[in-house]
């Protein structure tokens, strides 16, 4: 408002590790992750909550990091796609052909992880509902569904 950068200190658990970051309190979690922490696995597709590319887990639930302020994260637990490396969801996306340009993929991986943690055996309809806010322009979603099926049956 004054044109002067305001900075706060925020402590939270990031991918299982206690983390403290200095960032403007009005920065989004997405800005903080990408621009300050250089954790660029979380993607910015719209910065407006419309594409799901920036999805992270906040206290285990899928949320848009572009619509979460860093100051809202204080004391909470954040998991980004980097925290899911080696997971079966990552593996099933890679093996099902669900990845083309891949820019949407981390957001999908995180959203599917959240779904399967809450509901290990979802129906196709439930999968579609869980992923309806994640846009992919490349795949036509067919192989994304295949990937989720693979992750479920694993």
């Amino acid at each position: 408002m004054s044109g002067v950068r305001v900075v706060g200190r925020y402590s939270f658990i990031l991918n299982g590790r206690p983390t403290t970051v200095e960032a403007p309190p009005g920065y989004t979690l997405l800005e903080t992750l990408r621009q300050i922490l250089h954790l660029t696995g979380t993607k910015d597709g719209c910065s407006s909550g419309d594409c799901g590319a920036c999805t992270v887990l906040l206290d285990g639930k899928a949320v848009h990091s572009c619509l979460t302020l860093i100051s809202q994260v204080e004391g909470r637990e954040v998991t980004t796609v980097e925290g899911l490396a080696g997971s079966k969801v990552v593996k099933s996306f890679a093996e099902s052909g669900a990845v083309q340009c891949g820019y949407c993929t981390p957001g999908f991986v995180v959203a599917v992880e959240a779904l399967l943690r809450a509901n290990p055996n979802p129906s196709i309809e439930e999968v579609k509902e869980a992923l309806r806010g994640n846009l992919c322009r490349c795949t036509g979603y067919v192989k994304i569904l295949d990937a989720v099926k693979m992750a479920i049956s694993d």
Binding site: M1, S2, G3, V4, R5, V6, G8, P24, P25, G26, Y27, T28, E31, S47, S48, G49, G52, T55, L58, K61, A62, V63, H64, C66, L67, T68, L69, S71, Q72, E74, G75, A111, A114, L115, E129, A130, R132, G133, N134
Partner: protein, 288 residues
Amino acid sequence: MVSLYDIQVFTPRTLEEALELLDKMGGRTKIIAGGTDLIIQMRHGLAPRRDLINIYGLRELRYIREEHGMVRIGALTTFSEIAASEPIQKHVPFLAEAANTIGSIQIMNKATIGGNLVNASPAADSLPPLYVLDASVKIVGRKGERTVSIERFYKGYKKMDIAPDEILAEISFKIPDTDGRGLFFKHGLRLGDAISVVNGAVWMRRREGVIEDVKISLGAVAPTVVRARRSEEILKGAKPDDENLRQAARAVIHDISPIDDVRGSAGYRAEMAVNYVYMALKRLVMGR
């Protein structure tokens, strides 16, 4: 798109603290709850950039309670919680359905019902069910609290009966009669998430072959959500035959005043209001 690099965010730990903060700087600040609307609006320059009072973490405003024939929902309850809530699913499944369509899962996990209400979009999907439920909102300030009916709360386009030093704390409504049935509908331009071109809710109770009671609300077709009172009058005491349903549906135009925007023309909106009310009535009558 601007970055909010230069704002302050204050995070009170209790409602009491929040009210104190508001008392001190209510006019210059804005309350942020889930933030899913406010952050976009501020970053796109659609709302003035202000310092924020962040109440997202206030647990005391996050609950769903059933007591004395009433359901009470704390303002900071998320739509995921509402959609999954047992009392809501049991007593007002159409509110659960509306909660399920307000946006993606990511939005539902973060957006709160109180935030949605004070954002005051006439297209908000949570509102039409609350209108047919004749819900009330509880507003608290340092000087005390008051309860206002939802219809009174909205005074015009984005105009609400709430002062800068007050917080919307709770939404409540009487559990409707068990022999009635409600239904939520929404017209979006795709099957995935989309802002409603028209939305609404219908609640109906039939007895001995006639419609004993009916309530119809419509969103996105006027500066605020509206009740289609003319249509309700036509239906009360009437037989649920096709002719009556059609006539009642056509009558919604007396209570709406749609406008053109990127999602549709006023003319199309009016037709959709009529047709959706017809389809909803028909589905309630047919039991499908």
